[in-house]
Symmetry: C2
Subunit: 190 residues, 2 copies
DNA sequence: CAAGTTTACTTCAAAATTTGAAGTAAGTTA
DNA sequence: TAACTTACTTCAAATTTTGAAGTAAACTTG
């Protein structure tokens, strides 16, 4: 029964928290013609992608707001994400590319701005002089720390109890699976 | 014990599928100083956001590839996402804005291109002539159908069994919660 | 070890996307 | 009916992303 649905999408049941299928007419419309009456919706490949796109947009604008509050003017949210991706370790540009699935020239561009703003240091590796080693400066660490501070409030709202923790874990790992599937498909075809 | 962690992040346990904490040194680095030895990582607010950003990038490039395969040249993946957001119903620009949390001028811009390409029809509403009613044309529906067709393969890979289904559901709903929390925070402050 | 290849990144220009301020025209309200 | 709000559009500017070259160091192979 479920197998028959796989061409169409992924059968799921509601509902976490305030979520209500009625908010998603475009989804509920797709459950036509199968047997479960209520509290069963079908999440397709594209539903997920659209959700991810929306959530990403929301987060970017949130981050922009936080940065404005912090008085950061010289770099934008995209660059801040790069800083967070670097974290507290020293790494090469290539490693950074892997971390965010960025395109090379894109990261290069961001790193230039971040270096100009004094948020990172770049040193040519001793072992391999082609490879630039990147690390946060005091200033970069400070910005990350401030952002993480501001983020604490969200962590508290999002993770109220064990159920939330479990769900966040599953969401994280499922997204990772999407990342792999979509990434491999891009490289080798599905 | 968990409550103490909430300032830092969300405690979770591994692992779905091929996921291995070793792939995420930036996360495992954060589990310093708490008691679980292995298979326990901390997913912060920003870990999730970065994951979402990455997955979104992957999907966009996948979509671009699919569209190239289909020979679609006149619109890009962002516009295709708008088409998918419209779906098979007729709606106003405002409703579309809500569906994707777009900015008005942005959607206007996309709709112009989609209309120029013959993918959508816009008709002024009879009841309220300010309001444009949008709907897919034959051509728009065809593109969506083709994309959905191509997407079937991903649905099959992603949803192999009941466990997958459950996880995808939870991921979807958890993302929806993120959407709400991040969105409300943006509007009212947290 | 010289010549060619690959790797690791950078640069630049062009394209795509997003934002924000200003505009228009229809509806609503006082 | 004047003022305000809503629903969108337009345009210019900013931001982000792509893609094609380019550079220089490291490998590899005859």
């Amino acid at each position: 029964m479920i197998q028959k649905l796989l061409h169409e999408g992924v059968e799921v049941e509601t509902s976490i928290d305030g979520y209500d299928a009625a908010n998603f007419p475009e989804i509920t419309a797709e459950k036509q013609g199968h047997r479960h009456p209520v509290h069963t919706v079908v999440v397709t490949h594209f539903e997920l992608a659209r959700m991810i796109e929306r959530v990403n947009r929301r987060f970017a604008s949130l981050l922009r707001t936080e940065m404005t509050k912090l008085g950061v003017e010289d770099v934008g949210p995209a660059q801040a994400m790069v800083l967070l991706a670097i974290g507290d370790v020293e790494l090469s540009v290539g490693e950074l590319l892997d971390r965010g699935h960025y395109v090379g020239s894109n990261i290069s561009y961001y790193l230039k701005q971040l270096a100009d703003g004094g948020y990172i240091d770049r040193v040519a590796s001793q072992r391999d002089k082609r490879s630039a080693r990147i690390r946060l400066t005091e200033r970069g660490e400070q910005l990350c720390a401030n952002l993480r501070d501001a983020g604490g409030a969200y962590n508290r709202v999002l993770a109220r109890d064990d159920d939330d923790l479990r769900n966040l874990e599953i969401a994280f790992q499922t997204l990772h699976r999407l990342e792999l599937v979509w990434g491999n498909a891009a490289r080798y075809g599905i």
